[in-house]
């Protein structure tokens, strides 16, 4: 990483790029274009950035993973166990069916498979997984807990029978946070091996405030966030294009179906809507098209600041509301918001977190001056400040 890391000034005026540009001016227009593309590529991927965005995402992702997994307490054996709804025999039947159809078995792994059909072992792994997620959100031994968090998330998306939309995107978040935390600060000279393998103990206290891991500009933080951003932009566009494979989306009527689920809709509901059918269908089709346009145009506005931030985050919040209240999908909406927050720059994160930091510092100081140090520790959850 340290070899890859160019200095900020070098990125702003890359000498080879300038030389290539100068040569291109003599040869024609191709030289500057290639040099510009090359320096843009390097700047996009390898500019060292304040890791605040990565730390903020770690906290939000940890909370999101807990929000996803905690409600399954009490149903773990049924949902995820090899003696549950999708049991060992079902896995064998599925494999046989795929082989008979001439297909190849997809690779699937999960730590939960190691528990076999033992519900006690499964419960132990489940509660340990929740503990890992809590420690990860808090920033305790972040390299280790990032790895374990990815293993946890990947393990709980292995059951094909109950896989939902959120299960398909959560591993992306866990994977790139793992990449970020494993590489973060590895270029710092003179650090002991345990620090390089596990990371600092936690982000609280004076030692954490002096640790370069939490604050020093880092290429690793940028690479991890860029991987996350590019992958999620791809997900949004692919999902938007998938919607265009259905006539109901073209007709602008796709939202009708989740708004009027067959199990809960009666003839009287439809009759009651009839007087306002025109404006109702107008609004539904407009909302459908706005949603598709947001997804297809996602790469155009996701990396821009200013009003585009309103489009990005406003769309994410509307998407959350739509997922929760129209589709009844509990986790995909919050995941959408967390993914969209990954596009914020460190300066934008600083603007968001500074008032919180000031508030946390002021309140205990007002109540009890002796607790000032604790408040600084709480604000250090995201990133300690010296």
């Amino acid at each position: 990483v340290s070899k890859l890391r160019p200095t900020t000034s070098a990125i702003k005026a890359t000498p080879p790029a300038r030389q290539a540009a100068a040569a291109g001016q003599a040869d024609g227009a191709e030289g500057p274009a290639i040099a510009l593309a090359s320096s843009s590529w390097v700047r996009f991927w390898f500019t060292p950035v304040d890791p605040l965005g990565l730390h903020a995402l770690r906290v939000l992702a940890g909370l999101l993973f807990l929000y996803w997994l905690v409600p399954f307490a009490g149903n773990v054996e049924a949902l995820f166990g090899l003696g549950g709804w999708f049991d060992l025999q079902a896995y064998a039947d599925l494999g046989r069916g795929i082989r008979e159809a001439g297909g190849t078995l997809p690779v699937n792994w999960s730590v939960l498979f190691l528990c076999g059909t033992d519900p006690t072992a499964l419960a132990v792994v489940y509660w340990l997984s929740l503990a890992v997620l809590v420690l990860f959100a808090l920033g305790v031994l972040p390299r280790l807990t990032a790895l374990l968090t990815w293993v946890v998330v990947a393990s709980f998306v292995a059951t094909p029978a109950i896989l939902d939309d959120a299960d398909r995107v959560l591993p992306i978040l866990a994977l790139y946070l793992l990449v970020g935390y494993v590489l973060l600060g590895q270029g710092t000279p003179g650090r002991p091996l345990p620090w390089r393998l596990l990371g600092p103990l936690w982000p609280f206290g004076r030692r954490a405030a002096e640790d370069p891991f939490w604050r020093r500009e880092s290429v690793a933080a940028n690479v991890a966030l860029r991987l996350l951003q590019v992958h999620f932009a791809l997900v949004m566009v692919v999902s938007g294009l998938h919607k265009l494979q259905f006539g109901d989306w073209w007709a602008g009527l796709a939202l009708w179906y989740p708004l009027h689920p067959p199990a809960e809709t009666h003839l009287s509901d439809v009759l009651a809507l009839r007087p306002s059918a025109g404006p109702y269908l107008f609004l539904l089709s407009l909302a459908s098209y706005a949603g598709i346009a947001w997804q297809l145009a996602f790469p155009v506005f996701a990396w821009r600041r200013g009003w585009c931030r309103v489009v990005l985050l406003g769309g994410a919040v509307l998407g959350w509301l739509s997922m929760a209240f129209v589709y009844g999908i509990p986790v995909f909406g919050p995941a959408l918001v967390v993914f969209c927050l990954a596009y914020l720059t460190p300066a934008e994160w600083r603007r968001l977190t500074d008032p919180l930091t000031r508030l946390l510092r002021r309140r205990p100081a007002a109540n009890n001056p002796a607790r000032r140090g604790t408040a600084a520790g709480a604000s250090a959850l995201v990133t300690p400040r010296g």
Binding site: P71, F72, N75, A78, G83, G84, W85, D87, Q89, A90, D93, L94, G97, T104, P106, V107, V153, A154, V157, A161, I162, L163, D164, D165, R168, V169, P171, L175, V230, H231, L234, V235, V238, S239, H242, Q245, F246, D248, W249, L253, W256, Y257, P258, P262, A263, E264, T265, L267, V270, L271, L273, R274, A277, Y280, M323, Y327, G328, I329, P330, V331
Partner: protein, 220 residues
């Protein structure tokens, strides 16, 4: 290379249904994407980032499916009755139960027989499980019939292999939990309510009817 693998994996997904001379059909992936995707099938799968991002919620018009499972002992006495999705479960679990129920509602059309097929000497005629109307038009029972006796005068459906496999797997789970010998799984499904009903003068009342289909007594 990493995003190349992700992109090829996305392109290697089937698409559709698209209009074609044979009616609406799903189409396979482009051969180049299929071949390139076969080069590193395990890389994305090991990292668990191998979905094609064709989300279920993108598909409009899912029917409402629920099912009732009656766990029975060896004498046929009902030990427990389970409704899926369970209205009393927390929203997260109820949502997952809904996903399970959705699978049970996925039927496949059975092509009508093209002629009378006779079994080879010493062998039995091939059979197929189809939904047979017991009380037309809304109550069905899963029955095994010889392939050549599949009705030709009406559309005939069967549970998809995954649907039947899941029904059996869930039945085994209930037998383990409740100590039963068999489980009768009865599916309830309601078709989508098309938005065109808003514009019709008299929506047909049968548009809101529920269909019931029994998978029969499933044994572990």
């Amino acid at each position: 290379l990493h995003f190349g693998a992700v992109g090829v994996n996305v392109l290697a997904a089937p698409s559709g249904p698209w209009p074609s001379p044979e009616g609406a059909n799903q189409f396979g992936p482009p051969p180049f994407a299929q071949d390139l995707n076969a080069l590193a099938p395990t890389y994305l799968a090991l990292l668990k980032i191998n979905p094609d991002y064709h989300f279920d919620s993108n598909r409009p018009g899912a029917q409402a499916v629920s099912f009732v499972a009656r766990v029975k002992d060896r004498d046929g006495n009902v030990l427990a009755t389970v409704r899926v999705p369970d209205p009393d479960a927390n929203p997260w679990v109820r949502y997952r139960e809904g996903k399970l129920a959705d699978w049970l509602g996925r039927d496949l059309p059975v092509p009508p027989p093209q002629g009378d097929v006779l079994a080879a000497p010493g062998q039995q005629t091939k059979t197929v499980k189809v939904w047979e109307p017991v009380i037309p038009p809304h109550v069905f029972q899963l029955k095994e019939v010889p392939e050549h006796l599949v009705p030709r005068n009406r559309p005939v459906f069967q549970p998809s292999p995954m649907s039947f496999m899941l029904a059996r797997s869930y039945a085994r789970y209930l037998c383990r939990v409740h100590g039963g010998a068999s489980v009768e799984v009865v599916r309830h499904n309601k078709d989508v309510i098309p938005p065109s009903l808003l514009l019709q003068d008299g929506p047909p009342p049968e548009a809101f009817d529920e269909n019931t289909g029994s998978f029969g007594d499933l044994q572990p």
